[in-house]
């Protein structure tokens, strides 16, 4: 048996994927199937599940409800679709801002003298070694009424003898966006850097020789070749942002409910794991569909070859 294993490349391959396979089946496939089964059930008052086959949770998610003014049987609410939309918008805004911020930095790192690159990439990674929640708390210190920014502004105003009223930055949608953009920025920088770093310098020279302006070179050479990185970064940022609610809770003062809050509340406060499962699956489906169309348009990151 061991002899066969030594000789057969495919047997070796099979053996090597077994741990991952067990992990994927046990930790992903089976839980996903359970979630699906639960999402068709009904909750009971003590937080348990009555297993049925009913689409009620999905109908509720779409906004159809029996809780109507007298005389009307079924009516429509945008409650849950609104929460989905809010999460999508936040994910979209974060991703776009991250691209705009990450691109120049990635370009800078890719074009700088190679001896500095590893140091700079290292510096991009360092903040990620701090706990996610602690980094959000750091932003609270920066943005609050007597935080870093307001203290500095107040001090400057004092020097210039102008009246100063602290800016109300924390617990606003803007603070949430800043926190999100910051938290996920490295996930955008690294893939874009990898794409840009591969670009051969002679391409820029050729573009210049053929009379292309720097702007045109950017549009026709740099951007198309950076697309794989942008695509990979977008997926890495957009997908987790959709489910993250800790930033909104801490920097936004928990004023709004995002899809992540909605799911978490169903499992704990509302004691309705069936609706929570349905929302989880719907969110997953939505992300998959969005990613599918996105990658069909822009490739999965590696199709565009120089």
């Amino acid at each position: 048996m061991f002899k066969r294993l030594r000789e057969s490349k495919s047997a070796q391959g099979t053996l090597l994927i077994i741990p991952t396979l067990i992990f994927m089946v046990g930790m992903l496939i089976i839980p996903l199937l359970l979630t699906t089964v639960v999402s068709f059930g009904h909750p009971n008052a003590n937080g348990g599940v009555t297993y049925t086959f009913s689409l009620d949770n999905y109908i509720r998610l779409l906004g159809f409800t029996n809780d109507c003014p007298p005389g009307i049987k079924t009516c429509f609410t945008t409650l849950y679709l609104g929460i989905l939309w809010r999460s999508l918008t936040l994910g979209f805004n974060t991703t776009v801002l991250d691209i705009l911020l990450a691109f120049p930095l990635a370009y800078f790192i890719a074009r700088i003298h190679p001896k500095w690159r590893d140091t700079l990439l290292f510096l991009v990674l360092v903040p990620m070694w701090t706990n996610f929640v602690i980094r959000v708390y750091a932003w609270m210190m920066i943005l609050r009424e007597q935080g870093v920014i307001n203290s500095l502004l107040g001090w400057t105003a004092g020097l210039l003898h102008v009246p100063f009223k602290p800016l109300g930055m924390i617990y606003t949608p803007g603070a949430v966006l800043v926190g999100m953009v910051y938290e996920f920025l490295p996930f955008m920088i690294l893939p874009i850097y990898t794409s840009l770093e591969k670009i051969d310098n002679s391409l820029y020279e050729a573009a210049a020789d053929l009379g292309a302006s720097p702007f045109r070179t950017f549009l026709r050479v740099t951007l198309p070749l950076a697309m794989p990185g942008i695509v990979a970064g977008t997926i890495l940022v957009f997908v987790p942002v959709m489910g993250t609610f800790i930033v909104s809770d801490l920097l936004g003062g928990a004023q709004v409910i995002l899809i992540g809050n909605l799911i978490q509340r169903q499992f704990l406060d509302a004691r309705d794991p069936t609706f929570g499962s349905a929302v989880s699956l719907a969110m997953m489906a939505m992300t998959i569909v969005a990613t599918y169309f996105y990658t069909r348009k822009f490739g999965f990151g590696e199709e565009i070859v120089v």
Binding site: A45, T78, G82, I246, G253, Q255, V256, I257, D269, R271
Partner: protein, 445 residues
């Protein structure tokens, strides 16, 4: 450095981070407890506890509002403290268990609120009984209940808050307590026993309790609110903090309308929703974690908060006041309960009796600013010249700690506040209705 390797490394890191975000994020954002205590630094006591406690000193001063709302203050049985000869790492001399129960178990598994148990409780219990304690912490009742319900049944004791007791009894997770093994029950003020969620204390024994009421920084707010309804005044807009707790906030809205905090009447809840929707645009922050820090930093000036947070804020800034609203505050109590599946009930009974005996439980007065239902521990602390060190390292006597506690209307609420208070109870199937209202109101619908 090989760039491919670097990229792979970063890709792996990213994948890991996503996974951590997905898993950890959910957990971190669990609404933290309505009862979370401050960071606990366990007091180091210098001399051993006073050998005997004068039994005559158990009467609270007549001028003070007594802890009990009952006409005659409760007088706990006399207690004599004996040293055990063991001491903890920070120098606390553990008293001898009184009474000492026979225990054969070698372990005790606790599932408790984050930072709600003095470290000396663990150390002393392990030393005097020779039992190894394993403990896990949680930060919300819902989290604890969900974990126990879904298979974390190896714990002996849990600390549910009132409405969670009802739920866990219905779920069949708790076992009835044997009162013959709980002489410590006599330490408690009867005001805090025999509550609606557990008549006759068949399943639970009190730990600490408190209220949800109005907190206000009188330096920033001229017109101090007197009732929950006052919080709707337009002048408070944008300055308010509330607990991120659907039952408490919907509950106080129901009170302003004259309804019961535990109503399941659809029509009443609809009215509460309409009313609450007028309040929420003025709420700057929902915080069930640490609202006192926003009060101190000036980000908010008033709102609804609970005993511990109000006390800490007031200690740091004297302009902060805790107002018991005219409609009645919301009362809560944390309890000990034993799981039906508890593997070490003997050790659990020993733990309950030992940690809540007067010469141990006084420790709660030093760093856990809640209302202490353990009258015997209060009596022990009163006038005790033992030196204790507070969180800031200041040395004081236990008698002074007691005076701070008993003179503060936050930790020691006036009898009226208790009498007029309301308790959140489990509402069964209507739980989903409350959650729906919360989701709708927060979504601006």
């Amino acid at each position: 450095m090989n760039r491919t390797i670097l990229f792979k490394l970063s890709a792996a890191l990213m994948a890991l981070s996503i996974l951590l975000t997905a898993c950890g994020g959910g957990q971190a954002a669990t609404p933290p407890p309505a009862t979370q205590p401050p960071a606990a630094t366990v007091p180091a006591t210098q001399p051993p506890p006073a050998a005997t406690q004068p039994p005559a000193a158990t009467q609270p001063p007549a001028a003070q509002a007594t802890v009990a709302a009952t006409a005659a203050p409760y007088v706990p049985p006399a207690f004599t403290s004996k040293p055990s000869g063991k001491s903890t790492a920070d120098g606390f001399n553990c008293p001898e268990p009184n009474p000492r129960l026979p225990v054969t178990s070698k372990e005790l598994n606790l599932f408790v609120w984050t930072q709600y148990i003095p470290q000396d409780f663990y150390e002393c219990f392990e030393k005097v009984y020779g039992i190894n304690i394993n403990y896990t912490e949680y930060s919300s009742n819902e989290e604890m209940d969900a974990k126990v319900l879904n298979g974390a049944t190896n714990y002996d004791l849990v600390q549910p808050t009132d409405y969670t007791v009802t739920l866990m009894i219905h779920q069949g997770l708790l076992q009835k307590l044997d009162h013959s093994q709980l002489p410590v029950l006599a330490n408690f003020d009867p005001t805090y026993l025999n509550l609606a969620y557990d008549p006759g204390n068949q399943y639970t024994i009190p730990y600490e309790n408190g209220t949800d009421a109005i907190v206000v920084n009188t330096a920033a707010v001229k017109d101090v609110p007197k009732s929950w309804a006052d919080l709707w005044k337009p002048e408070y807009k944008g300055q308010m903090v509330f607990a991120d707790d659907s039952r408490a906030v919907i509950g106080l809205t129901l009170l302003t309308l004259g309804f019961d905090v535990n109503t399941t009447d659809k029509n009443q809840l609809d009215q509460a929703k309409q009313k609450l929707a007028q309040l929420t645009p003025g709420i700057k922050k929902y915080d069930s974690d640490s609202p006192h820090s926003d009060l101190l930093s000036g980000d908010v000036s008033l709102g609804e908060t609970w005993t511990g947070e109000a006390f800490m804020a007031q200690q740091a800034m004297s302009s902060i006041q805790f107002i018991y609203p005219t409609e009645g505050s919301i009362l809560w109590q944390d309890n000990w309960a034993m799981l039906k599946t508890a593997p070490h009930p003997d050790a659990a009974y020993a733990w309950l009796n030992y940690t809540m005996q007067p010469d141990m439980f006084w420790m709660m007065l030093t760093n856990f600013p809640y209302t202490n239902p353990n009258t015997a521990a209060l009596a022990y602390a009163k006038g005790n010249p033992m030196q204790v060190t507070d969180v800031n390292g200041n040395s004081t006597t236990l008698g002074d700690v007691y005076n701070t506690y008993i003179n503060s209307p936050i930790t020691n609420p006036p009898a009226d506040a208790i009498k007029n208070g309301h308790r959140i109870d489990d509402v069964g199937a209507a739980t989903a209705l409350y959650d729906q209202i919360w989701t709708e109101v927060k979504s601006g619908q």
